[in-house]
């Protein structure tokens, strides 16, 4: 999938993946074909990834997610935004999230 993540847009999990929480781990399982390159692997999120993922309900633009996380994490200015956009771009490229229409 091509396209750039934009802070002004809202995103939600794709219907092409199933997200499971198992023993404290978030596990993302492809449902349809062509999701990333995960035919033989599973994807889990680290703590940072989980904090972002939990806010991906499509209800607010990504900029609002960044603002929420900036209030929780004491990172250098702009670092959270860079991290969030990087994470979202990875998920978007894997077709694991979609723009909220």
């Amino acid at each position: 999938m091509t396209g750039k993540i934009e802070l002004g847009r809202a995103y939600r999990p794709s219907d092409d993946v199933v997200v499971r929480e198992i023993e404290g781990e978030i596990v993302i399982v492809p449902l349809t074909s062509g999701i990333g390159d995960l035919e033989d692997e599973l994807l889990t999120l680290n703590e940072t990834g989980r904090a972002i993922w939990a806010r991906l309900d499509g209800s607010r633009p990504l900029a609002a997610v960044v603002a929420e996380l900036e209030s929780e994490y004491e990172d250098a200015e702009g670092e959270v935004r860079v991290d969030v956009v990087g994470f979202m771009q990875e998920l978007y490229d894997r077709r694991m999230i979609v723009e909220k229409s």
Binding site: V18, V19, R20, I22, E23, G24, E25, V27, V29, P30, L31, T32, S33, L38, E39, D40, E41, L42, L43, T44, L45, N46, E47, T48, G49, A51, I52, L69, Y73, D75, E79, V80, D83, G86, F87, E90, L91
Partner: protein
Amino acid sequence: MTAKSFVRKVPSGMSGLWRATAPKLARLDIELTERCNCACLHCSVARPAGDAEAEAREWPTERWQALLDEAAGLGCLVVRLTGGEPLLRSDFEEIYLHARKLGLRVMLFTNATLVTARLARLLRDVPPLEAVEVSIYGMTRESCEAVTRAPGSFAAARRGLGLLAENGVPFVVKGAVLPPTRGEADEFEAWAADLSGSAGPPAFAVLFDLHSRRDAARSAVIAGLRSGGDEFVRFSRRHGDEAVGEWGEFCGRTGGARGDRLFICLPAAASASVDPYGRLQYCLGLRHPATLYDLAAGSLREAVTEFLPRLRETRAADPAYLERCARCFLRGLCAQCPAKSWAEHGTLDTPVEYFCGVAHAQAIAAGLLEPGEKAWAVRDGAERAKRRRNGS
């Protein structure tokens, strides 16, 4: 936020996925039906496809769906759908899709004869995430149907494989070394290597279990088909001594007697099986009444958190087992287990001479035993296996 890598890819084999506690149930094997449209000579399960009595007792769609819901809730990641021939179930697609929508990976075991264009497209669009495992018993119509005893099954299986390949559905083929197919192994491997869509090298079944429902007539047929230990060694050596070296290495790694605990099978530690009628078992082959749990009268959670842990504490009582198997250092080679004992003797803890003989033949080939030695009588067996592993 300091971590720059937010995601972690882990192999689907599950080891390494869990940083804290592993789920109580990692894999669930579901035998959707005992019925099969083939009647393979060596099969330890199958009933005729038209067995109405068996079909009437099989769990309906919604029971399987509810069980899958419960399995996913327990953290299960992989479900194996097998049989009999699971594609005989008219609701197979419903059950399959239900599992996949729960985020379960699906291992499908089939003979491929009932694969349709529609099913192949479904497996393409909603992939099982595990290679489909296809049993193909013969390189010619004559040899194949001498095993399957189902006219038309050779062509139907080839057609099914073709549909999987056309739709890019990964599969692996599995053969069997039986009187009609002996001598075909090399040809089978060459065919499998060139097969479009094949996701890996073929596997062969060489050592066969007796009938797991203890049908004496069926067991007698299977016993007559079995390869002996020496034949198994010869088959394993057909491409060189790599397998024999692995036996010695593995035995050194698992060295030491198994003791009197009967359920020491590590792969089954977080898995369970369910028969077509909703009875949970330790594994697919073990049907001893004392090892069954009726899911209709309980729950999957209770079965995996209470019933199976109790079962795993079962100790052997048979004097012959305690004299031989419990003291034997070949546990890494020997297939002895409660399921084999059940199929052969109707017990959990009786030594199975067939598998004992095969393990001894392997051990002699691997340099772990001298001809005539009995492994359980070798006092320094574990040390011997370790020395062999270390090359000294």
